[in-house]
Amino acid sequence: MMHMKPLPWFSRNSTFFVLAAPLLLISLVTFLIGDLLIERIVTVLFIDVILVLALQVFMGNSGILSFAVAGFMGIGAYSSVLFSMTPAAKAAALPDLYSFLTQIQLPFLVSLLIGGLIAALVAAIVAYPLMRLSDAAGVITIFSLLVIINVVLVHWSALTNGPRTLFGVDRFTYLGTTTVFCVIFLAVAWWFKESSTGLKLRASRDDAFAAASIGINIVMMRYLAFVLSAFMAGFAGGLWAHFITSFSPYAFYLSAMFVFLAMLVIGGPNGISGAVVGTVLVTLLREGLRSIENNVNMSKILPSGLVGFTEIVMAVLLIVILILRPAGIMGGRELRWPKDV
């Protein structure tokens, strides 16, 4: 009888290293070039990678389309800045803030953690019953959740300054910060996918009835993935808020969600390789298109300017990918090294 030797630890987890290495390289090269514009693009790229990984953790493993990531990003963004802003900045930007929050000021990393935890808490409280639904009903409920989060962010003026832009956030997020957290969350998403919970969830995605028949608690597996996804999105929202420093609730709604979905679906939703590859490619494409847009607008070739061109190309690309390669560029596989294991 032949015995299968278990793969060594490195080979089993090579996907993480194969993906982390180029990300670290991008970060290093960006640091060495020292160009401010490139640094901004790469910083946002790393935040987007975390957000798309958050989407992948739930959507990729459960097969349920989730619109809520943008909402949890918003919750994380607002909750983290409420703890990191100076009392003076809060007094100026949020005059109606509840008195117990006005004097609190915590270190940046603690605030980020609080942002992620509050997003996870909201998900933990509301999501369990929602996880019973899948397909169209599941999509509409999670979509409703996004609408509710957005309505609350827009109207809870005491905490968010309402629909208006919130100013006065200090910038704490730099290239190094996002690089570190991007790699950490890459490991988290990989670990989750390969964990027992992730495996059970993927089984339920491929065949819910077969999975249930071998005793998998599908609702619980979905729930755990959803809460983890919310934590990651909330944490990334905090990172983004301390990078961009002024934002409104509309940054966390459907147009943001469209970009995250495009990134994940173009790359391939079933693996973390697809999430990373998709985010990098779509970012490159978007920046290219945006510079075309800006050049056309500057040169005044068109009387009304070229607004919305980037989104149109992205939407067409997304539809073409869904028609020709529905499993995304990675086709549901993970990058590995060496290739034959």
């Binding site: 899948s134 999509v139 609408v147 599908i218 607004v307 149109i312 539809i319 529905p326």
Partner: protein, 296 residues
């Protein structure tokens, strides 16, 4: 106070919402597609009115027919170009496609026309009021009620009395069985999208009629309305969609009167909370369709 003009406005809102919901469910019933691009058909109707008005002077009713025609055509084309090729893939692929189509159409309006609001021509009766039993009632509301009832009546005739209508109803009960019995799938789906476009187009006329203007993002609100109404009524039944639309219109008007001012701005959140609760506790909606969706 419940007055006559409140009642008429609530019923007129309900009629509009009923048409909206029906247009969404007629596609959902057959393809199981929640069409995120549905709201954009209303935007297209509005912009078509705007564009037609730039040309030679025509009577308003002709312009309206043209605008609704463009909505029907757009709905048909989105199915032909985007949904048909992904139809055999997963449900999620089709949902994401509809989200992409919605983004595409919105940004096309931004690019081709303008991010700013554009005025649309309206007939004078839209801004006039009639006096009924001493109360002034906007004629627009009465028109919405009459048009909706006429259109619903025509649809009932189509669905009950014609072969095409019977095929449509059969397809929304059990699409696979209908195909096996020799009904051409592509034809049925195209017709469903065309009817969906017609309903959205007619609703679009009244929707842009409220503000006499159209913006690229005007489709978001009617899309949300269609979601809520279809979920209330039951996503598997055409009758349910109509009932859901009327209930939504009337409940929404009542909430507007009954809810204290401070909570009024959260009205939309309340409606979506109702959606989540219904999907959890009575996912088949108020009117049960033939096949209710499976849950884990």
């Amino acid at each position: 106070m419940i007055t006559l003009d409140f009642l008429i406005n609530a019923i007129s809102l309900g009629s509009t919402y009923a048409l909206l919901a029906l247009g969404m469910v007629i596609v959902y019933g057959i393809l199981k597609l929640v069409n995120f691009a549905y709201g954009e058909l209303i935007m297209i109707t509005g912009y078509s009115l705007f564009v037609v008005a730039l040309g030679p002077h025509l009577p308003w009713i002709i312009m309206a027919v043209l605008a609704v025609g463009v909505a029907v055509l757009t709905s048909y084309l989105t199915e032909r170009v985007a949904f048909r090729p992904v139809r055999s893939n997963s449900l999620t692929a089709m949902l994401i496609t509809s989200f992409a189509v919605s983004t595409l159409l919105q940004n096309a309006a931004l690019l081709i026309i303008s991010p700013r609001a554009r005025g649309v021509p309206l007939p004078d009766v839209f801004s006039e009021s009639a006096v009924i039993w001493g109360q002034s009632v906007p004629i627009r509301s009465l028109l919405a009620i009459v048009t909706s009832l006429l259109l619903l009546g025509l649809l009932v005739l189509l669905l009950r009395r014609t072969v095409l209508g019977i095929a449509l109803r059969a397809a929304s009960d059990n699409f696979r069985m209908t195909r096996m019995l020799g009904v051409p799938a592509n034809l049925v789906i195209s017709v469903a999208f065309a009817i969906s476009g017609l309903l959205a187009g007619v609703v679009g006329l009244f929707w842009v009629g409220r503000t006499a203007s159209v913006t690229p993002t005007i489709g978001a609100a009617p899309l949300l309305v269609a979601f809520v109404a279809t979920v209330i009524g039951g996503m598997r039944s055409l009758l349910g969609a109509v009932v859901g639309g009327y209930i939504y219109g009337i409940v929404f008007s009542l909430i507007g009167v009954l809810l204290p001012q401070g909570l009024l701005e959260f009205r939309e959140a309340f409606m979506f909370l109702i959606v989540i609760l219904i999907l959890l506790f009575r996912p088949e909606g108020l009117i049960r369709g033939v096949n209710s969706s499976r849950r884990v």
